[in-house]
């Protein structure tokens, strides 16, 4: 096998997507795959598997962050948003300004006053809500930051089906390195300089994915889904622009592309949450029965509070919130949305 990078690269987080990223990278570089728990590292080493995926030969599981940061200049943190800041904090002492971090986490971080929880706030400002790239810049000395986003259902990539992703960064060199490292015959990589926009695409689409799952749970068909996807897209744009992204980002692979994939796939965790809610299950039960985090649940909570502060019109977000947290039935939410006076098709260009 030809390896084009002389230095190894690291993946922080050995979840489903982290494992996929590590396997993709292994075609072009030696890869360290970090897991926090020693038993997980042990298990990866002995079984050669992680999250049901066979680890490719170039992937070395490790539990040693310092060693990884010393050896690798390029790292890919792929950690759920709720654990993201902690992980980055642990990594920070070993990081230098020459490091490049490209994360693959599609969630938000919140800065709360000490002793308060998210539920104590009725509204949030943009200063209190951070994207993952902003967390990295806040916690480390690294400036060259990027993200991965796009329709990347882990299982399909693991099956070597054709797919593509977007590497976003304000730094051209980060995009180029990301492309060189991730590109293979079955995996296209696009570049985008609107880092915040692309991060928000990945984050906000999860809300619509939950709503889409709910539609399926109600037994509805494709007209309804197309309606949701296109209106959901408009809502994402309004939210995204208010939070500092550009409209264009949402029209690309990480925006509409990812939205279509997660809204139509039963493989999507967020979709599954919506689906089971509509079938009448309880949110806590759903979450506790899932193997990995559905980011959309937390995203909806945060976004709802941002919507309130910035007075953005976001009915899909608000209705989905009510279904998840305020016992509104999916049916009633749908009725409300169908009566909502939307009348302009496109108002964001």
């Amino acid at each position: 096998m030809k390896i084009s990078f002389d230095k190894p690269v690291g993946v922080v987080g050995a979840g489903g997507f982290g494992t996929v990223v590590a396997n993709i990278l292994s075609a072009n570089a030696q890869v360290y795959l970090y897991a926090r728990k020693p038993q997980v590292v042990e298990q990866m080493i002995t079984s050669g598997f992680s999250h049901g995926q066979k680890l490719k030969p170039g992937v070395t599981p490790t539990g040693d962050l310092q060693m990884m940061a010393d050896q690798c200049e390029i790292l890919f943190p792929v950690v759920p948003s709720s654990a993201f800041r902690e992980s980055i904090k642990k990594l920070a002492p070993f990081l230098h300004p020459y490091h490049i971090l490209i994360h693959g986490t599609k969630g938000l971080d919140i800065k709360l006053s000490p002793g308060k929880s998210l539920d104590d706030y009725t509204q949030l400002t943009r200063e209190q809500v951070l994207t993952m790239s902003e967390v990295i810049q806040e916690e480390t000395d690294v400036l060259r930051v990027g993200c991965l986003a796009g329709p990347n259902l882990a299982k399909e990539i693991a099956d070597n089906q054709p797919a593509a992703t977007v590497v976003a960064s304000r730094f051209e060199e980060v995009i180029q390195l990301g492309q060189k490292l991730l590109r293979n015959d079955m995996f296209q990589v696009y570049g985008n300089q609107d880092l915040i926009g692309i991060e928000l695409c990945g984050v906000l689409k999860n809300i619509i994915a939950i709503a889409s799952g709910a539609l399926s749970g109600l037994g509805l068909g494709e007209n309804a889904r197309a309606l949701l996807i296109s209106r959901g897209m408009v809502e994402m744009i309004h939210l995204g622009v208010a939070l500092g992204g550009n409209t264009k980002a949402f029209l690309g692979l990480a925006g509409i592309g990812d939205l279509v994939a997660t809204c139509t796939s039963t493989l999507s965790r967020n979709y599954t949450v919506g689906y089971r809610m509509a079938k009448g299950e309880n949110l806590d039960d759903i979450i506790s029965s899932m193997e990995e985090v559905a980011e959309g649940v937390k995203t909806i909570k945060i976004t709802k509070k941002l919507v309130k502060y910035y007075k953005i019109r976001a009915p899909i977000t608000e209705m989905t919130y009510k279904v998840l947290f305020e016992n509104l039935s999916a049916d009633d939410a749908l009725q409300y949305l169908m009566k909502y006076p939307f009348n302009v098709d496109i108002d964001f260009l």
Binding site: P97, Y98, D141, L143, E173
Partner: protein, 556 residues
């Protein structure tokens, strides 16, 4: 006249002019300009890579220069301009007719750049520097004497007008360790004079700085600028060749260790607000200079560039009427037109300077903490520290695969980020004056009262409409002041000492001082004792000094 307080006197950090980097630069002026030319030509060639592209660049330059000569001639423009560009035109014609004209084109580029480099280059002479310095300090002192000050207190006199605060000791230390890049806010043409004075007052060697060529139209300024180490920036010239030459000049001077001064806002703030967006061109040259310095020295530390933000605060900006009119005209797209006069002749400036010193209008100059180019604070030894106080090696920001490499896009991005950090620092060290406080409160109260009106209609309100009851005004001033104090505790703003104490006295002080020498007062009390304004645009201008802190939420 109150007694002059004896202020701290700062001895020069370098013993004599021979050690000043700017003197070394002027000694090797010829060599320096040649180096500028060489590097600029290289840069242009690396941008315009084919014969066709080179021709295009020269053609664009020629066209724009001809337009400029025709439409916007200045007194400082040299007389041979016409013939020079005619000559360039002839060479272009020849080059287009011959296939092997590369050498001719390169020569043409070199000729243009040589012309530009010589035009930009400052002409620093230690003798005239000393003279100019003496004129500034002694001349200002004489003006003060006319107002009854003490006869021999030459530099103390200005020191008493100008309150210098902040990281004074640090900037003196940093100037001995590396190269200081001072970035002040820009409100008035007086800024350059003040900064020139403050630099020598603090015992720092002269800084070089890019002064708008238009200032050289005014003889009194031209004299000071030439002698204080200024190089000339012509904002009319926006062609690639000129901009490259200017950037190389600035970058090379930094590499030579010349302390430099940029007004990063580019021009004077039109709205009266702290700069929100900075010009990135010249700031970007610092990154190139820093990278090359690091490449040349294997050890970190020497050749390090330190950014020092400076905020200048006035109660009164002479040019305020014209600046704010200009601002409103630009943003209002023709909905707002008024007549105004320009701050353009030596006579007017002298008159202003006399007013400034004859009457007591305080100026404050806050010197911020030194930063490296990546926004990390540096300690007194010039060591960069990250947010948790760990040392950072700035070389690592330029590394790719273990080596320093040149990456324009990366450095542009660093520049953009640094400019945001400088803006934040400006807000942090901005010193609130009583006059800013009253102007802000009065304008926001009016805005709130007429919230249905847009800005332009609000500014056109008839005078009898804008009366604010004094009690409400006092209440809001007090409220805003306590908010400013709270924000100060968080380190997000600063305030002048006169802001403490009885609020009524502060209001009185502010009302007396806000735009005190304008023909129409932005703020005064009417017979009934309530607050009113003779000129809302001016009030808006002085109010703008406190925008960007979300204070409007507190004013009702």
């Amino acid at each position: 006249m109150k007694l002059l307080k004896p202020k701290r006197i700062y001895p020069p950090i370098l013993p004599g002019p021979r050690e000043w980097p700017v003197v070394r630069l002027s000694k090797f002026r010829k060599e320096f300009i040649l180096e500028v030319i060489k590097e600029s030509v290289q840069n242009v060639k690396s941008i315009a890579t084919s014969k066709q592209k080179i021709i295009e660049e020269i053609e664009t330059t020629l066209y724009r220069e001809k337009m400029r000569i025709k439409q916007n001639p200045w007194r400082v423009d040299p007389e041979d301009e016409h013939s020079f560009w005619e000559h360039v035109k002839q060479q272009l014609i020849v080059a287009e007719q011959h296939d092997d004209a590369e050498q001719l084109l390169e020569n043409t580029i070199k000729e243009i750049i040589t012309r530009y480099a010589n035009e930009i280059a400052g002409n620093f002479k230690p003798t005239s520097y000393r003279l100019a310095r003496a004129v500034v300090t002694f001349g200002f002192a004489r003006l003060l004497n006319a107002a009854g000050g003490s006869f021999w207190s030459d530099r103390l006199a200005l020191a008493d007008k100008v309150e210098v605060s902040g990281e004074v000791e640090q900037i003196r230390k940093l100037a001995q360790i590396g190269t200081v890049l001072m970035v002040p806010t820009h409100f008035s043409n007086l800024d350059s004079v003040l900064i020139g004075w403050i630099i020598q007052y603090l015992g720092l060697p002269p800084f070089i700085y890019g002064a708008g060529l238009n200032l050289f139209n005014i003889r009194i300024f031209a004299y000071f600028m030439n002698s204080l180490g200024a190089y000339k920036v012509d904002r009319r010239k926006k062609n690639l060749l000129y901009l490259e030459t200017l950037k190389v000049y600035s970058s090379l001077a930094l590499r030579y260790g010349c302390h430099s001064l940029f007004f990063p806002g580019g021009t004077r703030s039109r709205s009266g607000a702290l700069e929100e967006r900075l010009k990135l061109g010249l700031l970007g040259t610092a990154f190139e200079a820093q990278r090359i310095n690091l490449e040349n020295n294997s050890h970190n530390g020497s050749g390090k560039i330190f950014v020092v933000p400076v905020v200048i605060n006035y109660h009164f900006v002479l040019e305020a009427p014209i600046l704010i009119t200009d601002f409103l005209r630009r943003t209002g797209q023709g909905r707002f037109y008024t007549e105004s006069d320009e701050f353009s002749t030596s006579y007017k400036i002298l008159k202003f300077i006399i007013k400034f010193f004859f009457k007591g209008s305080k100026v404050s100059l806050s010197i911020g903490k030194g930063l490296d180019l990546f926004g990390n604070y540096v300690d007194d030894n010039g060591v960069s520290l990250n947010k948790i106080g760990h040392e950072i090696d700035i070389r690592e920001y330029f590394l790719s695969n273990g080596k320093i490499n040149s990456d324009k896009q990366r450095e542009n991005e660093y520049t953009r980020r640094l400019s945001n950090i400088i803006v934040t620092e400006f807000h942090r060290i901005n010193k609130v004056f009583s006059s800013h406080l009253v102007a802000y409160v009065a304008f926001e109260m009016l805005r709130h009262k007429f919230e249905k009106l847009d800005l332009y209609n609000l500014l056109r309100l008839p005078e009898e409409e804008h009366i604010i009851p004094y009690d409400q005004f006092k209440y809001s001033c007090d409220l805003l002041r306590s908010n400013i104090f709270d924000l100060h505790k968080k380190g997000e703003i600063d305030y002048a000492p006169h802001l403490e104490g009885d609020i009524e006295k502060i209001i009185k002080h502010g009302m007396e001082n806000v735009g005190m020498y304008h023909a129409k007062r932005p703020l005064l009390r009417n017979k009934a004792g309530n607050i009113t304004s003779e000129d809302l645009s001016l009030l808006y201008y002085y109010h703008n000094r406190l925008t960007g802190y979300s204070f409007e939420n507190f004013i009702r």
